[in-house]
Every structure is written in structure tokens, then in C-alpha cells.
Symmetry: C2
Subunit: 201 residues, 2 copies
Amino acid sequence: MSLDPGIHRRPVPLARAYRLLNHGPTVLVSTRHDGRDNVMAAAWNMPLDFDPPKVAVVIDRSTFTRRLIEASGRFALNVPPRALVDASFAAGSLGGATLDDKFAACALRSFDAQVLDLPLVEGCVAWLECEVIAEPHVQQAHDLFVARVVAAQADERVFSDGRWHFDASTDALRTLHHLGAGAFLASGEPVQARPVGPTPD
Amino acid sequence: MSLDPGIHRRPVPLARAYRLLNHGPTVLVSTRHDGRDNVMAAAWNMPLDFDPPKVAVVIDRSTFTRRLIEASGRFALNVPPRALVDASFAAGSLGGATLDDKFAACALRSFDAQVLDLPLVEGCVAWLECEVIAEPHVQQAHDLFVARVVAAQADERVFSDGRWHFDASTDALRTLHHLGAGAFLASGEPVQARPVGPTPD
């Protein structure tokens, strides 16, 4: 199965962008400032609003990513598929400050974002371009960053009409959910809720 | 398979409590104030720190849960398994303010928390008791609540030694990851990352 995002990448309406993160995938945070690109992994992320969409993500103060975000005011969240599990774990393990090219060190490649001056991660299945909403207190106290989503894209093979849809033919594109220490769960079977309560009879 | 948590419920060390939410499950937020208990669903939650553990969760200002949390300063996050999908969706759909007993309306039952004066949800697979850390600005601006975890428990059939572990015998206990509109994905197959980079030869 091709991981080339250029063929299958489609825009996602902003009102549906929260759906890309709603089920709790681990993401790769990509950044660019002053000629330096970087990427790291972040399991601690969530949607924060529907439309206009906002997100929250935890960016530890010790990371190079944090310095680039504080300097540039922007980042992208890239949703890696199972096929990128090794690279995603490397992105969460290696420090970026001392690497000339952390993308290469993680066996990742980038392409340019649509709206913001940012690198996006090739082979991911969703991409959200984000502008930081300054919240200095929670940034300092809790390493918590709030941002508005200004553009979103997804791989149409697994996300279309505002909904993720995985099957046996797209197993390699299932999203990753980090348990810890390099162990992940892939997104699994669909489960549809039925209404609870008295049924007419 | 029994869903009775009384038999299989075990304490989780606080330093491992973040692992209960690390893979992005939808949770049920349970609350108690002045004789009223309530429960709602929240897909938008994440760990915020390791030890002492903190969490973040989005609680819309229109919800009854929000009123109870602002009055009491506490809530619990309960991680529902697949077997509770209908009840979890009901908890996310029904308003609590006008219901005498929202637990009953959702076909849920509660038991008392260990440390805080809170109801926990029977049949869940993990439970985190949380005290709100007052962050008035982000509560108002973004409906975002930050809290410290003061006690945690999990069902030992699927979480032990700080790690989730699901297999065919515990399918009904897999966690739920909300896509939207009552459609969920169950937690899926394990995927273990291998180190990226040059290998010795």
C-alpha cells in the first residue's frame, strides 16, 4: 500500500477537523522556525472546540519543539498510521536540538503545509495546521498549549465525509494510540451505540 | 463475562495513572454535589503530567456536570468498556439537569469512590478521582479544566503492571474511542515500535 500522501490527501472542512483527533490518536508535532524544522511525538492532545476548531496539546518545556513553537507561534499535528510506528516512536525518543535533521534521523520526510509556513509529515493520514492562542499561564504552569486549527487535510482512503473508516484493506493506515514505552494499540473495530431507554411497542 | 468491578478492581499507583488515559479513550465524567449525582461522556480528555498525575478535560458550559464541578471542585473520570457503549452514548446525549437520576436513565449504576466524595461508574475498566486545579481563565475561555489525580483504580483483567492488555477473551472490556454521533472504535491490536537508526553489524 502506497503511503504517498500526495495522491490521497484531501482537504477536510474546518468544522470537521475535530473528528481527526476525537478518537485519541498519538500525533507528531511538526515545527519550523528560522530555517530549522523539527518533529516530535505527543500522545497528550485533544480537540478543544468544534467550529472554529481549537486543539490542546502538551509540549514539555525541555523539548526543542517547545522552543520552536514559542518562537514561531505555530505547529502542525500530523496523525501517523501504523506503518509509521517505528518512526513515530523515534520522534518521541530522540532530542531535536542536537540533530541537524531530526526528520531524517527518524526516517521521516516532510512536505510544505498549505496555509502556514510549516513542514508536514509524509505518510501520515491526517494533518492539522495550528496557530497558538497565547495562554502564558497554562503554558508555564502545565506545559499546555491551546491553538486554533486553520487548515486540515486527511487521507481519503481512511477519512472522508467527516468520518474515519478503517477495514482490512487499510490495516497499515490505522491510527496509533500510545500505551507507553513504544507499545501502541492500533485503532480497532467499529462499535455503534444504540439508543438507551424505553422503546415504543 | 462479568462486568462487576468489585471483584476485579485494583488500585493503580499514582505514578502510573496517566497510562489509563494515554491511548485516548472516551471517558465518563461523574460528579456529586449537595446530594445530586451526575454523569456525562467526554471524548476530549488527556493526561497532563506523570507524577503527581494531572489531567485535562473539556466540560462545556451548558452542561449540568459543569455546574456540579464548579460547585464541588472534583470529578471522576471513568473509562467505559465496549460493553457499556450504549450507556456511554446516552450519557453524552441526555441532559442531566432535568433528570432525577441520570445514572438510571442511562442504565448505569454507581458505587462510592475511595478518596473523594464521588460516585464511580460500575462496569468501567478504569477510574480516576480528580480534584480541580483552579484555572479560571481557561475554564471560562476554553471550557478547559485541569485537575490532579488523587486516586486511581483499574480492572486487573485488562490493566496490570501499568499496562493495558486486551485479547480475544476480553473483547467486551476494550476501551472506546469516539468518532462522532455514536460511532466508536474499540481499542485494537498491539503494535510494538522497534528502534529506528543504524543497527550494529
